[in-house]
Point group: C2
């Protein structure tokens, strides 16, 4: 009933701790307390107490002072702490399942990825296996004195982020399950589920600190069997009412087009999905992404036709999205990553003719910087982001237990 919380005394600390933590973590190079004071406008005294709290919490560390150029006392450089607080990214997808552990510096601390065909696999057993892998990684991490801040599971389907229910994952053949309890993770470990494409999009933000400061608004389009998208606005994922935004694959490209397995017809997926792409050049659906890219990059008619059809359809769907959202940056992931140079001309042609604001707001099309299992990174990073955005609970206890 009560939407907005009041600002209490402690809110100031909460916000300013988060502010300082974010600045240090997003910075290109280590910052000093004095730098932070200058950037934020707070006094050096205030910044000092905040930094001290964050260092004690294991979120930041002081590096060895480096020699300065000019006169004056040398600054103590601050950086995100390595291997203190870590986040878990989990994923089950059609051709692999895996766990990735990342620390606040963005480094992958530990990882298990098993490549196998999981189409039609039993959800309960598969998730139990993933849970076992995860527990192994947690044990290893804790024995090395790291604190695991939470786990975020990525699934290729419609996930109700509120209730944690997977409505349907067509390519896995799963539907109507609650995946988190099936993992059997330790009690008290904060967990969440999300859509694979959306988490992959967030990985793009984290994968490149420069991106976090500049182009924090973009559309991420991931091509696989399905075509998923995610809308990132000012560094925040836009999930929509239920977390089901970004279904670009089922945007109508041609109302009299071929039937789609979603029940409608003329969906983008029928022109630019992986199935259509591999069919067009006579490959199998399980072909690795780089092999497909190579084949589609060849200079024969079949490849050219497949890429052209896909690019034009993609461009048209994107034009719709850009007309609606006024976003001027698109990152292409999944099987599209390696095809960007081939796809770009057809996409741009559609955007230029169909986007009303095109003359004043050109759209940039780029391959997604984080490619390998981006959703694993995205999940882990989402967990860590929650820590950085609310460092308060981590400043209190020294214990290794996870704060609620």
């Amino acid at each position: 009933m009560n939407s907005a919380e009041p600002a209490r005394q402690g809110s100031l600390r909460e916000r300013n701790l988060a502010l300082v933590a974010r600045q240090v973590i997003d910075a290109a190079e280590p910052l000093s307390r004095a730098d932070l004071a200058a950037m934020t406008g707070m006094t050096r005294a205030t910044v000092s107490t905040l930094v001290d709290q964050l260092v004690a919490a294991g979120i930041l560390t002081e590096l060895a002072p480096v020699a300065r150029s000019g006169p004056g006392r040398p600054a103590v450089p601050l950086a995100p702490a390595a291997r203190t607080i870590v986040g878990l990214g989990l994923e089950v997808n059609v051709d692999y399942l895996g766990v990735r552990l990342i620390d606040l510096t963005g480094a992958v601390v530990d990882e298990i990825v098993l490549a196998e065909n999981l189409r039609g696999s039993p959800a309960t057993a598969t998730l139990a296996r993933l849970g076992q892998l995860t527990r192994d990684i947690i044990t290893r991490a804790e024995s090395r004195d790291m604190r695991v801040a939470g786990a975020h599971l990525a699934l290729p389907g419609l996930v109700d982020t509120g209730s944690g229910v997977l409505r349907i994952a067509p390519n896995l053949g799963w539907s109507g399950i609650e995946p988190l309890p099936l993992l059997g993770l330790p009690d008290g470990l904060p967990t969440a589920v999300g859509n694979e494409a959306k988490l992959a999009a967030l990985a793009q933000l984290w994968g490149c600190p420069a991106a976090r400061r500049t182009s924090r608004t973009f559309l991420y389009v991931s091509g696989d069997v399905g075509v998923g998208a995610a809308i990132v606005i000012d560094g925040e994922l836009f999930g929509g009412g239920h977390g089901w935004s970004g279904e670009l694959g089922h945007v109508t490209v041609d109302p009299s087009g071929p039937a789609c397995r979603c029940g409608a017809n003329g969906c983008l997926e029928r022109y630019a999905g992986k199935e259509v792409l591999v069919d067009g050049v006579g490959l199998d659906i399980d072909v690795p992404g780089d092999v497909l890219a190579d084949r589609l990059g060849a200079e024969d008619d079949a490849a050219r036709a497949a890429v052209d059809t896909a690019g034009t359809a993609l461009g048209q769907a994107m034009a719709n999205a850009v007309n609606l959202l006024d976003i001027d940056r698109v990152l292409l992931g999944g099987v599209y990553t390696g095809l960007v140079p081939r796809l770009r001309p057809a996409i741009i042609a559609q955007l230029e003719s169909r986007v009303l604001a095109a003359p004043w707001a050109p759209v940039w099309i780029d391959p997604a910087p984080v490619a390998d299992h981006a959703a694993l990174t995205g999940g882990a990073v989402t967990v860590l982001r929650a820590v950085v955005d609310n460092p308060m609970p981590w400043t209190a206890r020294q214990a290794r237990t996870v704060p609620v």
Copy 2:
């Protein structure tokens, strides 16, 4: 360079003043200080000082105590203050120009609307005339001791909200002008320009206090010569990178469809724009909305065909938007307002077949509650919203000058 501001001491007051002001203004019935304390979680003491400040600023007023049901001291009901602080909405559209003055209760305090054909009118002269009307209204308001918080101008075109430049308004025949200076409004009066459909969307939120508390997320689609849309998420307009979001009229319905004056082809506007609707039933483009609705409501083949084509195209474009945004409420405005019962079946049919999440998230289609010159209301309301969201500057001075 520095994105986030730190939370200073005063930020608490700022936020909590805004919180209390919003609660009172959005409430269905008057609230007491004690109610507010219970709702927000702040102590009665804190709420009291906040309320006193807001009353002194002319944002809230105490009503006469009413008899209570049970025992105890009767509460002092609080309500938004009438005719103290007011906001101006301005608009130039193809068939009228006008000014509307609204106070914090949402009441229209003053208004001038001149119906005339402004297609191809000279921008400078037209805006100068609108400015004169506005100055008259300001003078009247100030002589009645009201403080004008600002003016917001609505135009039917691509407005760069950052720079205040109107890129192009095809139906007016205006392009590349900076409209605000041409109004010649008093120095120091905060002014802004925005797109007409977007401001109309915000009017829907304000027009119905109940809406502000419940369905604060919706897509507003306004049909006129062009088809515009606005995305409202949790009570905030989503403008996109440049404020050019919501160009639903140029979403592609059929890639092999008829040419559109935007240069592309198969745009929604070519199926559901007012020009096509009036053509379909042999009326003139300047026909009033209710006459058109009557004619299209008739039971003959021409009317049925026009409505069917428009509804199906609208539904398809909306399905794209819903797949992308996961929004489950659509408000139809402009010429569509009176046609909702006729349009709904075709729209729903498209949504049900084309929206992937349709089985779990049915979409509601309703006529927009605020119909008459909604953008005028939207502009005024946007100005007032800025006051409510940041009441601090109004608490300081008692002077009638507008705070910067």
